[in-house]
């Protein structure tokens, strides 16, 4: 043990001697180079992290998020999906863009499970979102209208979403089915439901939901155009590959 200590001491002494031998300018230059490199690395990492480029797919369970995820990535829904228990998280180049020549930037997409018990996962992902796609089942809309409106309300009133003005796309999925509703109908119904929610939720005011923000203009009926962040509505079908609306949204909002 002592021997090692002595060895170490002698090495340190040798190193000191060697350093003293070098001309001082060299040492200053070396130190400067190291400092500049560190600074550069820090600034680059800072810049990268401040611009989120994640698109979040959210919506009720059974809306078609996982199907949409695989459509965007692989161009097909493979053999079908079941209720997700975990999120699907991947960075990839959109399938439709893979044939394009030139540099195509990969996008980072997170598909958050819609089951109510897994709601906390959404809260983890939202702060990093550059855009949110809210998937609505256009075929089965009426029975799940209230729950969908509540989910959407929760997203629109999150402090991070409002502060960063995260754009939201309401994607009406499954429009290939005959009984699917139109996007205008869905939009109106959602606005009505959110209006009702506004009134009952403001009654709870400063309750335990501490990061809720007031939606819309008090006194007026709620309208998506009243939101500070942009809310748009589109339709398509995940299982047939009709997802161009989502792709446009992604390309628009993910900074290259």
């Amino acid at each position: 043990m002592d021997e090692w200590i002595r060895q170490a001491e002698s090495w340190v002494g040798q190193a000191e001697g060697w350093i003293r031998q070098q001309p001082p300018e060299q040492i200053y230059v070396a130190a400067a180079v190291v400092a500049i490199t560190i600074l550069l690395l820090i600034t680059v990492s800072c810049l990268k992290s401040s611009k989120p480029n994640t698109i979040v797919l959210s919506g009720l369970s059974g809306g078609g998020k996982t199907t949409l995820f695989y459509q965007l990535r692989d161009g097909s829904a493979h053999q079908g999906t079941v209720t997700s228990m975990e999120e699907n998280n991947d960075t990839f180049v959109l399938h439709s863009e893979q044939e394009k020549k030139g540099k195509v930037k990969p996008v980072h997409i997170v598909d958050v499970p819609g089951h109510a018990r897994l709601k906390p996962k959404l809260d983890e992902v939202l702060p990093k979102a550059a855009g949110v796609v809210f998937v609505v089942d256009a075929q089965d809309f009426l029975s799940s209208m209230q729950a969908a409106a509540e989910y959407l309300y929760d997203i629109l009133t999150k402090a991070t979403v409002v502060k960063k003005k995260v754009p939201v796309l309401i994607f009406c999925n499954k429009t290939d089915k005959v009984t699917a509703h139109s996007k205008e109908f869905i939009k109106k119904q959602l606005e009505k439901e959110i209006n009702k929610l506004r009134e009952s939720r403001t009654a709870i005011s400063s309750a335990d939901i501490s990061d809720e923000v007031q939606l819309g203009v008090p006194g007026e009926s709620f309208n998506f155009s009243q939101c500070l962040n942009r809310v748009t509505v589109a339709e398509g079908a995940g299982s047939t590959g009709n997802v161009s609306a989502v792709e446009e949204f992604i390309r628009e909002h993910v900074k290259a």
């Binding site: 692989d74 053999q79 079941v82 997700s84 109510a116 897994l118 906390p120 509540e150 309750a207 335990d208």
Partner: protein, 581 residues
Amino acid sequence: MLEELLIFTRGGLILWSSCRALGAAALKGSPIDALIRSCLLEERSGDASFSQDNYALKWTFHNDLGLVFVAVYQKILHLLYVDDLLAAVRREFAQIYDPKRTAYDQDFTDIFRQLHLEAEARAEEMKKSKQALSSRPLPPAASHKTDPKASGDSRPNAAKKKKKGKDDSDDADYTAKEALPNGNGTFKAQDRVLVLPKQGKENGGPNDNGAFDVSKLQRLRKNDRKNNTGAADNGAKKLTTKPSETKKKGKQDRVWDDKPSNKKLDFTDPADERGDEVTDHMAVNQGESMMDKDDNLSSDSEEDEQEVEDGPPKKKGWFSSMFQSIAGNNVLDKSDLQPALKALKDRLMTKNVAEEIAEKLCESVAASLEGKKLGSFTRISSTVQTAMEEALLRILTPRRSIDILRDVNAAKERGRPYVIVFVGVNGVGKSTNLAKVAYWLLQHNLSVTLAACDTFRSGAVEQLRTHARRLQIPIFEKGYEKDPAVVAREAIQEASRNKSDVVLVDTAGRMQKLADLSAVPTARLIDGILLTKFDTIDDKVGAALSMVYISGAPVMFVGCGQSYTDLKKLNVKSIVKTLLK
């Protein structure tokens, strides 16, 4: 015959489906989704199997790769080889699995066919050998023990359903447990079960009732054992009766060593026994109900790393396990998880979680961690802790929204009053908390009516009348010795006549004819839970977890005191933290 074997990722993508690959018919309904929603996400993945319509499902996980394997077969068939097959499939598939690939048809279909045949053959062999065993003449003393064993195997479905393990060793365990009550004469209920083994006949299909009795026996036995542990046992006994009852809005009780004092709530005026004249004009505004107050989450305390030094020494050498945990290649297996899980289970039980629930939870967490690779620099105990925290968070997060005000408004639009029935055992605090809820609703400008349907306990109607007076709300009462169902119905009619928004119905603690209370003939289950006397328990919050797990209903309110403002919402994060402290 096996209807379907499905392999999918935890993220939801189906990787291989035997139906599609072999061209068989598709399943009716969607039992897989039902399995996920009502079992796997409810932290019941430690259960042996799940049944839906006429399908029975069994599953296994590959936690390291994040895969789930589910086998579906007809419930009436008692397939012996399913567990075996699932394990074999998991093994083979893990070898060919690649996260980038999504199509495994060509490779895996043949392997599966082969495994299926092998498993079926093995099961046939086992059945034949057991049959040969039982047909040999045996001495009478031993017949006591082996007959249950023989008939235990000829009732594979029941045995399989209730068994927790998959191997023969557990088979022996189970039959040993069965044998125990044979010798132990204290259980009367088992007479019926005893008859079958004594006759030594190979009954074709067991009654499910027979099997159910045995499992109830096991539970009773466990409860018996628990009697020595004091506080936990009452909770457990009530738990076993809970699932069979259908109630509206249930409140759960606690057994406490020290009863809370009744000083504050003693409003009886000695001057006037009828209590009408004394205008004890309590201002309706006693301040903001705590329902509406902010709950300060101390998020910085989430980093408290407790150094849990109580883990018993691992079986492997200390140095090698240390090295492995740094290198990060440690694969978790059941023996590693056992000590950590046991410690967690004990901790949960000291916080008043029922033993059954703690057991099931630990199994569910074990099922989700087995076979997982530990990351570098992580200890087993911290991994288990994180997994348990997530599981608890999932259970306590409500499955649907619990926005009462919204539901009330929805009912108002339909022109009918919103009825809340308070149900619960004696002494739990129903009437007190009913008053608190009334106060909260009043604060939100809703008109409330009370209905005194506790026509059994003397003083119940007076108690409610006093509350009604203090809160200045109408009360509907018909005195004592009346049929509570009738009173309730009339109360609701009266309320709709007076355009009242909400009707709060108080019921007796004793089990009156609750079924009659519902205006609609369909049986109703518990919609929500109101936990009472939360202020008296310090950190023994386990009952909240037990109740939510068993009933699947969310906790809507928490009563935490004797005054009108002491009604809170459940703060899930702080409960989880307290449970695992």
